[in-house]
Amino acid sequence: MATTALVVDDHPSFRRFACRLLEAGGFDVVGAVADGASVLPAVRKARPDVVLLDVLLPDESGLEVAEQLAAEPNGPVVVLTSSRSAADFGDALARSSARGFIGKRDLTASALSALVGEP
């Protein structure tokens, strides 16, 4: 059974291409939302295995959303992404309970699979 995924990004074109890229890479994309507030309802409804979460969202930080998801029972695996580099966030990424970080320019289905597949 394919891994289900939720894409969270406020840029429409990137969100669209990311969904198609993951679909092409074998993911089952069960939803896509544009802001932090929509994440929790979408996760509770669709129960994705993995959430690809943009760090810089218009309403709240992806880092905060990651903590909310970590507190969910049987929550999804969270992978953060951003157009900025990991260094721009200092040690905030390391302190986050998210599984990992993929820069947007390095985003591929296999890179995501590799992170999710980790035990």
């Binding site: 291409f17 900025r84 200092g90 591929t108």
Partner: protein, 580 residues
Amino acid sequence: MSALRLALLLAGPALCAGVGLGAVDHDRLTPIQAVAGYGADFAAIAVGLIVWRRRPESRTGILLVLFGFAFALPDLRIVFHGSPAAQTAGMAAIEVVVPVFGLLVLSYPTGRLASRVDRGLVVAGFSLAAGYALLELLFLSPREPHAGGYTECFECADPWTHVKTYDVLGIRDGLDVAISVLALLFLVRLVRKLLVTTRRQREVVLPLAFAGTFVAVEFIVQISVFGAQVDSWTNRAWFWIVVASTLVVPLSLAAGLLWGRGARAAVADLVLELERTPPVPVRDALARTLGDPSLELALWLPEQRAFVDGAGDRVDPTSSAERTVTVLGPNDSPLAALIHDPALLERRALLDSAGAAARLALENERLQAELRAQLVEIRRSRARIVEAGDQERRRLERDLHDGAQQRLLSLGLALQLARARLGAGGNGADDLLAEADGELRAALDELRELAQGIHPAVLTEQGLGPALRTLAERSPVPVRIESVPDERLPGPAEAAVYFLVSEALANVAKHAQATSVRLRVAQAGSAVAVELEDDGVGGANPDGSGLRGLADRVQALDGTVAIVSEPGAGTRIRAEIPCA
């Protein structure tokens, strides 16, 4: 007016000497008594003339001259005892003494009565005096003193106006009661005058108020204890009391005059004080000279067309009951305004001369105030410019990030998808797409560098600590960070510290030939201190464009930068930036 004063100046001594000699000649007084008695009258006339000349705007001088003459004139009756004219003039004049005295004291120091109550009191006094005078002029004969007159003079003529001799003792007693009541009211008004005046006014009024009290009490005692029977000619003790009460008035006024003379010395002191270095605040010096500790000084700023106080805030000085405003300098372009105790107006000359003496110092102080105001404005606008620049940089970075960068990233994903669909075949299209992907990545790198240079995203997102660590990681010369503040600082301070360190590290990499850099950033009170030291060749020029630029940025926030760069001893930059 001066001719009149000259005439009075000649008439005064002549009158006093004449009646004095006459009184001795007629065995009325001993020579000592004559000298003392008429000397006191003369003193009143002389002091009155001096006050009249020196303070022409005040009527006090005229009143005092009148008082002196009114005291001496009646005694012409002794010299020209056979003359009905002298008797008439004497009888009329003697009654004027008491109300003139009341007017003199109540109206001091302006010579004008300000209150209606005082005016009523004085009018009542003059009316009673007219009553006395009529009584005497019409019905008394000096030869029959027991009928109510007070001067035994059996060889004297009757006044012109004498109608018939009556026993008017009863009417006199009634008038005496009335005048005693007036004297008591006068005392009450005098006490009130002292109570309502300011400290400064009290100094002026006190000597004459003392004299007034003395005379009023003497007068009341005379009337209530001795009645009309007392005769200073025959009662020796009483004579000296009358002399003393006559003398005390000109003496107290002379004291005020002497005190006025001290004003000139005070202004001279003021000039000396204002020339002292370091300069004394002009307000303090003026307050001391004018004896008004509550004095406020407002300087006129022509550019703003407004008065400002010492702190540079605008004020609008207006006169009120408690405070008077005196503007120094011409009305259309004043220099300053003094806001002071209204009593100082009584010493207009001192006020004017002190203002004139302080002119240069005030001009100086005004220039300084103008300069300070401009400096404050320049400092604020400089900080605003830097702040606006920072905001613009943040906005540009954000625009690049949200716009071009996002589109390029989407394009990258599209290329990936296209390559996946195309597979390995397609006439070398995959190679082309791979090349396009490479170009795209290079474009993204350049864009990121550009955005980073405009405003570092890490500074906006994570603050100074992570941003400085990023700088340190990128620096070709190893940087040891000893401390960075954990908490976020105000945006302008963070940006200033970041760009200072960034520029300094770039300089180290370019010129210093250093092997290591030590960086220390610590919040100390309401400022953040930055210390950056390398072990390179030193000799950096603090006025080089890079270092100059970062010093400007720090100074715009009221911070300081010190650069020590001896040749061969490395370079050390220390900066302190306010962040309250």
